[in-house]
Structures are given as structure tokens and as C-alpha cells.
Symmetry: C2
Subunit: 137 residues, 2 copies
């Protein structure tokens, strides 16, 4: 059964702007951008990090789909429009100083343009693992 | 039982640099920084985003503890040194274009200076949830 009203039920445009728009609260950098961490709902996988200007953030919060600002192409880039690998927005939060956005999504297919599930799958680094004192006893 | 050798077993300094240092592969921005996403091992919680220059990244990968570059204080900041809320490094990865670092950690206590577990706990945003076509049928 189609439920076209679902999206509307989740979002009240008036309430959104009445309490002070998060777009006004967001601290964009000197280029007018902030980093957006994209995380898969449920699994917690960190899929990628992209950049948003005010308009990309507005679209992401109000349209149900993640939109970035592409710094290399200097244009808006709605994830999945060409690849089909859509990111459906499930939740979002600003961090404590409002200069980073965390967006929880339902990711369709591969998040990375290289074809891997996340953009962090291809280059795991050799690290010295830190051992908490309690665990070392 | 104390196992002081554990950290050493996890990390081979020679192998780390022989294959091309990740510090050389990393794409720092025009300020010499890259964003580092800090994620709790196991739960997948995104704890915070901080910034690292080459030296902070080197320390993070080789010392078992997360070190950031504080843009506001213009100094290195080893997480937990003053708060006790240490981040022990468990794994790290560069993303597909090497301009973002994901660090998996064991977080002691609150990651956020406001006292919340993550820096994203305080400001959840009202969003329009996207509904995948299949889920709407």
C-alpha cells in the first residue's frame, strides 16, 4: 500500500523554522561550508564525509535525500541521482559547536564512487593500538 | 597480569613507513589540516569530529592515543590529558580521496566537553525523513 503522506507526517515546516532554523545556528566555515558525516542507520557504519553549504543543508533536512556541495565541480550534488546510490535521510544532528553535521541515512547500495560500501573500506592504516590501563592489567 | 608488550606487537614502525607513509598519502587542506571522524569501536557511535595536521595524525597513528590540532587554541591537544576522557586508538582508515580520516577508538567517559557521550547528542534536528520507494509500497 502506498503511503504518500508518510514524509509529511514526519516534518512540520512551521515548527522547523519557528524554533530558530538550524541553518541559522550552523557555523559554516570561511568558504560557507561545513562537513557532513553520513552514517548508516542501524549498523552505525560511517559511510562518507561530504560538504554542505547552507542550501545543501536546507535541502538535506527538508527533502528526505542527502544533497552535498561538490567542491571540485562547484555544484550541488544530490547523492544517487546519477549512481542510483541514494541516501534517504533518517535523522540529523549538529555537534556541540554547530560546525559539523551528522546525518543518519538509509544508504542504497555502495556509498563510495569506487563501488565499496563505505569510503573508508579501501585504505585501512597500520596503527599502534592504544591499550587502556585496565585492559593491560 | 600486565602485558606491556601488547602495543608493540600491534605496530611495526618499519613496515609502516616502508609501504609509503599514510602521512604522505593524506590530502591536507590549504590550512594543512584534515577532518578526523572519531567513532567508538563496537557500538559505532560517532563521537566527534576533530582536525589534525600531519603531526597530529602521526601522533594519533603511532602513539595509541588520539591527538588533534586545536584550531581555536592553535596547539596540539591530546584528548583526555586534562579531562581524563582519553581516546585509545583501535583502528584508522583514510577515505577514498585521502582527505578524511576515520579513527576507531575506545572512548573513556564522555567524548564531548559538554559532558555528553558524543558531541552530537545535544542538538538533534527536525528532518523530513526520506522513504525508500520499496518501503512506501
Amino acid at each position: 500500500m502506498s503511503e504518500p503522506g508518510d514524509e509529511e507526517l514526519e516534518f512540520d515546516e512551521e515548527a522547523w523554522t519557528a524554533g530558530g532554523s538550524p541553518l541559522d545556528r550552523a557555523a559554516f566555515n570561511s568558504d560557507g561550508l561545513l562537513p557532513a558525516i553520513i552514517q548508516q542507520e542501524g549498523t552505525g557504519e560511517v559511510l562518507m564525509l561530504g560538504w554542505m553549504d547552507r542550501e545543501a543543508m536546507r535541502r538535506t533536512l527538508t527533502e528526505g535525500r542527502v544533497t552535498f556541495w561538490s567542491r571540485s565541480r562547484q555544484e550541488y550534488w544530490r547523492k544517487g541521482d546519477t549512481s542510483g546510490h541514494v541516501q534517504y535521510v533518517r535523522a540529523a544532528a549538529l555537534d556541540c559547536d554547530a560546525d559539523t553535521l551528522l546525518v543518519t541515512v538509509e544508504q542504497v547500495g555502495a556509498a563510495c564512487h569506487t563501488g565499496t560500501r563505505t569510503c573508508f573500506d579501501g585504505d585501512p592504516l597500520d596503527v599502534r593500538r592504544g591499550i587502556p590501563p585496565a585492559a593491560a592489567d
